[in-house]
Amino acid sequence: MRAPRSGDQVLIYLGRRFVSLCLTLVVASILIFGIIEVLPGDPAAFMLGINAQPEAVEALRDQLGLNQSLIARYFDWVGGLLIGDFGQSYTYRVPVAELIGDRIWVSLPLALYALVLSTAIAFPIGILAALRRGGVADYGVMGLTQLGIAIPNFWFAMFLVLIFAIQWRIFPAGGFVGWEDPVAGLMGLTLPAIALALPQASILARIMRSALIETLDEDYIRTARAKGQSRRGVIWHHALRNAMIPVLTIIGLQFSFLLAGAIIIENVFYLPGLGRLLFQAITQRDLIVVEGAVMLLVFSVVVVTFAVDMAYALVDPRLRR
């Protein structure tokens, strides 16, 4: 009788998480809409500039539907979101979903690329530092990662451009040609991905090192060694697996950050990504684009968190009790 009851509990746990996910989204939508709509600045006035006649601005406000009440506009917006309609951009005059959709094809691959690079760098050097604790390699890794965290990524980005784009002309200085030519697309994202990955890798390597050192000190490691398992086997089967929990949490957080937080790097490399779309939309008071993009980011973070919660529920037996 025990098994089904524990299954029920998992379902109850997941159900609760799901309800809280929905509530989070509702609250987020109200907050996003409320905060963004009270921003000073009128999109119509922005578009028509300083020579415009007041009546022309008024006519444009009417056309854009800005003269409706705040509440009516909120329900319009949320109603649209539910059926996947993000509304129409005020300034670009195209559907917001289309704008965001285009940008995702830059931001998502860039975030993934940076994440892959960052893990590929961080794992080996973090493990190396932990295993050679107190040695030259450890000091080297700690020093370099300290530097990696301290160097601002936009500065590092310019440095990369100077060397690889202007001096050697291996990679383009910026811009994104699209995915019709996947090689050129990947080339265009390489320098930005490296610039983004460096500080992330530094942080991740340090987390990896400390998590691994901590687990290596655990009693069960000593027990495993005492039972005759090889040092390598212990590290692979026991220490690393347990050290992965904090590391994976950080990777999850970094991914959300990379998706939305690449705005400075997008500017340096003039990539048409989500961060720059948001930035432009804010300066132009294209509020409906801002709202749509922020809502999407909130949604992705909330869903990732939900997925992590689910994974915990499946992996960690204590959560089922």
């Binding site: 020579n51 002309r169 200085a173 910026g174 300066t283």
Partner: protein, 489 residues
């Protein structure tokens, strides 16, 4: 075998050279929000489409003169109220539809309609009626005589659009120009291709790409790496010396229509007092601002008028840098101990960098200007609409815009009745000598009233590959006209 390789290599080089010779990539700092010049004020819209995609009845030449475009000629009746435009024949829009008088009537009626969202609706205010006399002839009747109509119709806001395609011009512009719109990757670039059916002189380029690079450092890198062929309005004047020293590049320095002013809120104390305004004007050292904020690019101005305009009067002697006199004037006005005010700065470098210098210059005469950086949207709301400011710095980039001083609702709130009368007289005057006279009186009036402190005429500083020829040096309107651009060896 060797010969084969050589031929291959030669043909390869030839094709690359040819490809290079007919396409160009232009860098721009700001991306246009849409591509319809009749429905937005953003300079970036005109920069991409003016003269390239869209054409008006008339157009600006690179020297600011008004040239025939879709109208080959025009007649004015004796009292200056009826214009008859003769239209070019055999012109088609990019979607294949014919251009004729009905398109002109549609365009002008749409721009002056009640629900028009034209950013420069005032250009069309004097038009009473537009009538198609024949497929190639349009008559425009004005409510009062005006010599300005051909000039007004040369603006980007007055380009001719077709009723079939006007609604979609924001994202798919259909004009009559030498380039057809081909693609817009939002956030990255707009691509144009040569129009094979163009009515006018054939152009040298086959394709043009406008690339949007907002970061000045990225703009520098893109030019240096050869990703961009020209940056007609280069965002970082500090890098120009480096480009100038490099034989691969040409630095193009010209003038714009941008009068950069330190605007004062004439409707509120302390700037309602002309003595205070004069004191501010005398506290300013223009050359220091030009050198410090603009790296030496810019021409000092003493009134709100472009120095390259034949009607310009040099009034710099009305407001020389004289801090002692400025302190005296402040004391006379009752501010012996100075006062504190706000200095709201929009994003461009001329404002942000210039503002720091101006604040220091004002502090030297006892005026404490508290700097507040604002975005354009905030500036429009607070300064422009709400008049919630003491001082602000703006470059007024519209050509011949001294008329804004007659606008009652305008943000610096001048509108002195004598000045309004002057502008009304200018509107109906068609005699050129008399017009120049009126414009000069107007320049003197606003300089003598110290409406604003006049700083400098914004320079146009661009960079281009040294093998490119035909880019505009000056900027009589905000355009990147590619019709005369070609690669040379």
């Amino acid at each position: 075998m060797k010969a084969l390789v050589a031929t291959l290599a030669a043909s390869l080089i030839a094709t690359t050279a040819m490809a290079q010779n007919t396409s160009i990539t232009i860098g721009m700092q700001l991306e246009p929000p849409n591509l319809d010049p009749t429905g937005g004020a953003a300079a970036a819209i005109d920069e991409v489409v003016y003269a390239n995609v869209f054409e008006g009845l008339t157009r600006f030449g690179s020297d600011g003169s008004v040239l025939p475009a879709l109208a080959s000629a025009w007649d004015i009746n004796d009292d200056g109220t009826v214009y008859t435009f003769t239209l070019r024949e055999g012109v088609t829009f990019h979607d294949g539809s014919d251009f004729d008088a009905d398109d002109v009537v549609f365009t002008l009626d749409r721009a002056r309609a009640e629900d028009s969202t034209n950013a420069q609706k005032a250009l069309f205010a004097g038009i009473e009626n537009v009538e198609a006399l024949a497929p190639n002839s349009v008559q425009i009747t004005l409510s009062s005589p005006s010599g300005n109509l051909p000039f007004n119709l040369a603006w980007g806001d007055a380009v001719i659009v077709a009723p079939e395609s006007a609604a979609g011009n924001a994202t798919n512009p259909i004009g009559t120009g030498p380039f057809v719109f081909s693609d817009w990757v939002q956030g990255d670039r707009v691509e144009l291709a040569a129009n094979p059916n163009y009515w006018g002189e054939p152009i040298a380029l086959e394709a043009a790409t406008f690339k949007f690079i907002s970061d000045p450092v990225a703009a520098f890198a893109a030019m240096m790496a050869g990703d961009v062929d020209a940056f007609p309005v280069f965002p970082a004047p500090e890098n120009l010396a480096q480009f100038d020293a490099d034989p691969r590049f040409n630095v193009i320095v010209g003038s714009t229509e941008g009068e950069t002013i330190l605007a004062m809120n004439n409707s509120a104390e302390p700037f309602a007092d002309p003595l205070v305004r004069e004191a501010v004007a005398l506290a300013i050292n223009r050359q220091e601002i030009i050198d410090g904020a603009m790296f030496g690019f810019g021409t000092p101005i003493g009134t709100h008028f472009a120095p390259h305009n034949p009607a310009y009067v040099d009034l710099l002697d009305r407001s020389p840098h004289d801090p002692d006199r400025a302190r005296e004037l402040l004391a006379q006005a009752g501010y012996a101990d100075g006062f504190t005010t706000t200095l709201k700065l929009p994003p461009p470098a001329y404002a942000r960098r210039g503002g720091e210098i101006i604040a220091a210059q004002l502090r030297a005469v006892g005026i404490e200007a508290e700097i507040e950086n604002v975005e354009w949207a905030q500036w429009l709301e607070q300064v422009f609409r709400g008049r919630d400011y003491g001082l602000t710095i703006v470059s007024h980039t519209e050509p011949m815009d001294i008329g804004i001083y007659a606008r009652e609702d305008y943000y610096f709130a001048y509108a002195r009745p004598a000045f309004v009368a002057l502008m009304d007289a200018l509107d109906v005057e068609t005699d050129e000598a008399a017009r120049v006279d009126l414009m000069q009186t107007a320049q003197e009036m606003i300089a003598d009233d110290y409406v604003n402190a006049y700083l400098f005429q914004l320079a146009k500083t661009g960079v281009a590959n040294a093998r490119i020829e035909g880019l505009w040096e000056n900027s009589p309107t905000q355009a990147i006209d590619l019709t005369g651009v070609r690669w040379v060896q």
